[in-house]
């Protein structure tokens, strides 16, 4: 590769953690993007041009992210970027993309990312606030819980969720009996936090974090004698949760944007292709990355291979048929529904009780 001259190729880029604590997430995303590109290239590319992916590793660190961004921004052949995964990275890098009018589709959830100052930044996932509100309502109204404990990861994702969940849950009339924190990728032992939470007698635990820690939390809760329902966000929506957590994660409910059985046009084919290519279950991030790629490719098809063309396509797109549901952007934020999933019999299923 690399031999082809650039005029006959089209480049898009993806910036994600490829090494370090969160490398697994970047890995999933890149797999999905490559799947989408393979599909189009097998069909002969766009106007006979192959589409290629350039991967940048931000290591999940906001210090690295701007360097990656600058590299992409300064590279005229790159037309669009998918990423960054960490909100802190997206926040650190967005100014650079903006200055280069380079469209970016991110799945970071921090609400500030789409605060109106960076019109080239699109979010394909829902903000932390939206998720937290919905989950608070779900816990209070649908599950009838009144005393919640929160375990949140000490990054912007976790703290944002914690704050918003607290606000909404208390507004609804519930009580937050405990808020404990931990460090993603570093904390392995949760027994002090869980013991403390147990002392406060919550009737539900909200875990604002990712699947690895959630699996550990669920496993460690049992021996401590803490037996209350747990709910979480899209951050734990992954088959890996079950692999890691085993029996302990039975019954956990969480928000998600994607489930293989919630079928939209193309969902089934995507899931099958992903499985057969990687021998893995696609997760939320994979689905969103796949959809992001498809969106960009469609933009190129329709408006030509330019940054501005893609941007204007994204501004105007309405109900694009994504594998995780139809996509439209309002003020750069996607509009989509939240699914509630549940671990049942060692499988992720749609929960019996859904949000309205």
């Amino acid at each position: 590769n690399g031999g082809g001259d650039s005029a006959s190729e089209i480049f898009i880029a993806s910036a994600n953690p490829m090494t370090g604590d969160s490398a697994q997430f970047g890995d999933m995303k890149v797999k999905a993007i490559e799947l989408a590109l393979d599909e189009i290239n097998e069909e002969g590319g766009i106007d006979g041009k192959n589409v290629k992916l350039i991967v940048g590793d931000d290591t999940g660190n906001p210090k690295e992210a701007p360097n990656v961004a600058q590299k992409f921004a300064g590279d005229d052949k790159i037309l669009a970027v998918i990423g960054h995964w960490n909100s802190s990275c997206t926040l650190a890098a967005r100014g650079i993309y903006e200055a280069a009018s380079l469209p970016v589709i991110t799945d970071s959830v921090n609400k500030q990312i789409t605060d109106g100052t960076t019109p080239h930044m699109y979010r394909i996932s829902l903000t932390d606030t939206t998720q937290a509100y919905n989950l608070a309502q779900y816990a209070f109204n649908k599950l009838g819980k009144k005393n919640a404990a929160i375990l949140f990861t000490a990054n912007d994702f976790g703290t944002g969720l914690k704050n918003d969940f607290t606000d909404e849950f208390e507004r609804l009339g519930g009580t937050i009996v405990a808020s404990e924190t931990y460090f993603e990728g570093q904390s392995k032992d949760f027994s002090p936090q869980l013991t403390k939470i147990k002392g406060q007698n919550p009737d539900v635990i909200f875990i604002a974090g990712y699947y690895v820690e959630t699996a550990l939390i669920a496993q460690q809760a049992g021996p401590i004698g803490l037996d209350v329902p747990m709910i979480g966000t899209e951050g734990i929506s992954s088959e890996e949760l079950i692999k890691l957590g085993g029996d302990a994660v039975e019954g956990i409910r969480f928000a998600a944007f994607f489930h293989p059985e919630v079928e939209f046009p193309g969902t089934k084919e995507f899931v099958e292709a992903f499985r057969s290519k990687y021998n893995k279950e696609p997760d939320n991030y994979a689905a969103l990355a796949y959809d992001s790629t498809k969106l960009i490719l469609e933009g190129i098809k329709q408006n030509g291979a330019t940054r501005d063309g893609i941007t204007s396509y994204l501004n105007d797109v309405e109900d694009f048929p994504g594998v995780a549901g139809p996509i439209s952007f309002v003020d750069n934020d996607v509009t989509r529904n939240i699914l509630i999933l549940e671990v049942k019999n060692g499988k992720i299923d749609l929960a019996d009780i859904q949000l309205d």
Binding site: M18, G20, D21, D27, D189, P192, P223
Partner: protein
């Protein structure tokens, strides 16, 4: 509640202690802060995991495979990365170790992938409880093996000829040679032992949390360092003491102060202890004769 937190602390502390033993032993003998210790711990856990899942071996051979494999890694590292630097200033050794640590983490990522893998349940982890204290069989195994290892290693280092030779090598390599000590062999042996112990710790912890992943050694490596220093770096019983102190203070700190400052508590204890006793709790401050 307090008793429960205390038992949480002891369980956690014995994990730190187990990790710190190998670390402190290597330090005691080569005066090397083996930053890669945590990563050898990770390699050991991954090798055991590979033995279990890929080669479908039973747990005991897998465990041995992990320990021996990590020991081999340890020897290779000692041979190629550390031995050539022994004569340079100490800080070079220090950085060489950091380089190796970075390498091992990323090497594991290349080989096993970045994601967390679930460690198969091989031991029926029963929970026993009495007077408000809960302890699981794996916690007992970890605590038990820590105590046994501390005993054995202390005996070897303090009272055997081999141990004396190890201590000599730590002080003056040239003169150790003049005593007829095969210093290379001592160094490799030390590393093999330290890495094997690290691997055992990594595997047990992997079993305990049912998870292995490339970055799993980073924090334990650092914690082992702190535990070793609290106890008096180079002192094997000190490593155990330091580990327990850290585990307990973290648990109680997380419970009664704030879980966000949990890791800071370990460091604050470290700093307080060092200011009161600069050579650590059981460390021997051998003053330089002027």
């Amino acid at each position: 509640m307090f008793m429960e937190q205390l038992s949480n602390g002891i369980a956690l502390g014995s994990i730190y202690a187990l990790t710190a033993i190998g670390f402190t032993m290597v330090y005691g003998i080569i005066r090397l802060i083996n930053f890669a210790h945590g990563d050898l711990y990770m390699i050991g856990a991954f090798l055991t995991y590979t033995g279990l899942t890929l080669f479908n071996m039973p747990i005991v051979p897998s465990f041995l495979f992990g320990m021996v494999g990590a020991a081999a890694f340890g020897i290779a590292i000692a041979k190629f990365a550390y031995s050539p630097v022994f004569k340079a200033p100490r800080i070079n050794l220090f950085l060489s170790a950091i380089g190796i640590a970075i390498f091992l983490e990323n090497f594991a990522m290349l080989i096993w992938g970045p994601e967390t893998q679930s460690f198969p349940s091989v031991i029926n982890n029963k929970v026993y409880s009495f007077i408000g204290i809960r302890i699981s069989s794996l916690q007992l195994i970890i605590l038990g093996s820590t105590i046994v290892l501390v005993g054995i290693l202390t005996y070897v280092v303090q009272y055997t000829k081999l141990g004396r030779a190890m201590r000599c090598v730590s002080q003056d390599m040239d003169v150790s040679k003049l005593m007829g000590i095969n210093t290379d062999r001592i160094v490799y042996l030390t590393f093999a032992l330290g890495s094997g112990l690290g691997a055992a710790a990594g595997t047990l912890v992997g079993m305990y949390y049912k998870a292995v992943y490339p970055m799993m050694g980073f924090v334990p490596g650092l914690k082992a360092f702190i535990a070793a220093v609290i106890g008096g770096i180079g002192s094997i019983p000190g490593a155990m003491l330091g580990g327990l102190i850290m585990g307990i203070s973290e648990s109680l700190g997380a419970a009664y102060i704030s879980s966000g400052y949990r890791d800071a508590i370990a460091f604050i204890i470290l700093i307080i202890i060092l200011l009161l006793k600069p050579e650590g709790l059981l460390g021997k401050g051998i003053k330089e004769k002027i």
